[in-house]
Amino acid sequence: MTLHDRLLALDRRWVFGVLALFVIIPLTPMFSNFSVPVTPVKEVREIYDFIEGLKPGDYILLSLDYDPGSLAELHPVAYAMLEQCFAKRLKVITLTLSQTGAQMVEEAVKDVADSCKLYHGFTPERGIDYVYLGYKPYPGLIILGMGMNFRIPFPQDYYGTTLDSIPMMRGIKNYDNVKAVINLSAGNVSDYWVADGNARYGVKLALAMTGVMAADYYPYYQSRQIFGIIGGMKGAAEYESLCKNPGTATEAMKVQVFAHVVIIIFIIIGNLAYFLGRRQTAPTQESR
């Protein structure tokens, strides 16, 4: 039995075994120093560059509209982006339009604020450096209402403080006062942001979303209705790499890259074996 015959008849358990191995290996401590070179694509870089280009004290609005089910794909973006904003000393307005996300987002924002002490030597303070407005139902109306005044849908923040008594919200009325809105979404809230926020009020908008959704929103990027798009785990890893702040997405991308490389190598091996086999059998077919 020649090599290519063996390869063509390769028991699929080998494929399973190798794949399992290469999914587990990158997760082991051995590979904790290994990092996948990530090349950020243009639509991710544009968001990063935009935030980097802001001046300290500028306002930015993060609408974190995902639920715990999509945490794996969107949390990394939220963490990296919040930390970037805090490090730039931007004023961050956060809120969620996802019903099951309210508590999760609160924890995430607090988490990042606390960890800033470690990496940037200062702790962003609630009410001065950031606010969390919490959750309100009916995203379309909330987005329209905020276009008039943040106080219409959110008279108070998540903790019950009226917006006027929050230091950083003084004089901050509506979208005119924020430099951009970044929407992290796992559902149809992005449609509202595009249709109501951007189309009606001309909000400068960027989206981060799950991998499955991303392809559907590229037309908006093309028509410049949104200035950037971060799609799925891959986009999240790219954003983390831009922020030089590798996190869980970078970790998960290791597995993805390993697995994809393994599968592609298998496909190549299969094809090589096929062509080798064909070249050898071809003459006999002719002589027959």
Binding site: R12, L19, V23, A215, V262, N271, Y274
Partner: protein
Amino acid sequence: MKRQIPLVLVFVFGVLLAIQYFVPSEASQRGYEFVLDWITIIGIFAMVLGIWSQIHVGYNKIKHRSEDWQYSVVTLVSMFAMMFFGLSFFGGLHGTIFRLIYNNVFIPIQATIFSLLAFYIASASYRAFRARSAVSTVLLVAALLLMLRVIPTGPLADPINKIGNWMLLVPNLAAKRAILIGVGLGGVATALKIVLGIERSYLGKD
């Protein structure tokens, strides 16, 4: 009697519900809701047939001691246990034991079976993606391109990403549309065959 009445029933309800689609009036809406309800309620009775079939098949295996009969015992016992813990005495669907079993047996197995797809997608790619003919080469190249999006390819990343997105949006749309137009037509044809009684193999012979 055995064959005529069912055919009449199929025709009458089929035609009525097809016409109902065009009639927005109150009577028609209520009739529509009733029929949907009826189908659900008949489904409850069908559930009895389902349990019966399951017990019947399992019992026969156990009785005849056919191969792997022990596992039929496992199935039947776990089924009855689950039904027992789902009684209102234990809190119905929100009972502690019911939920514990669901979360610690059902969910892990479910997630694991779903994750088998990761292995299967790999073995299917290895076996099937070979450049045997022009058509299979097209399939192979398209799949490879989309897989390459994930791998860091340096300067190639941007074009690969763009071509990948384009393939997901443009040819995908065309193919989906062509298939859906056919599916729409074929669906009408199939329903029509049933309603008109052209297709009646499910109604028995005698």
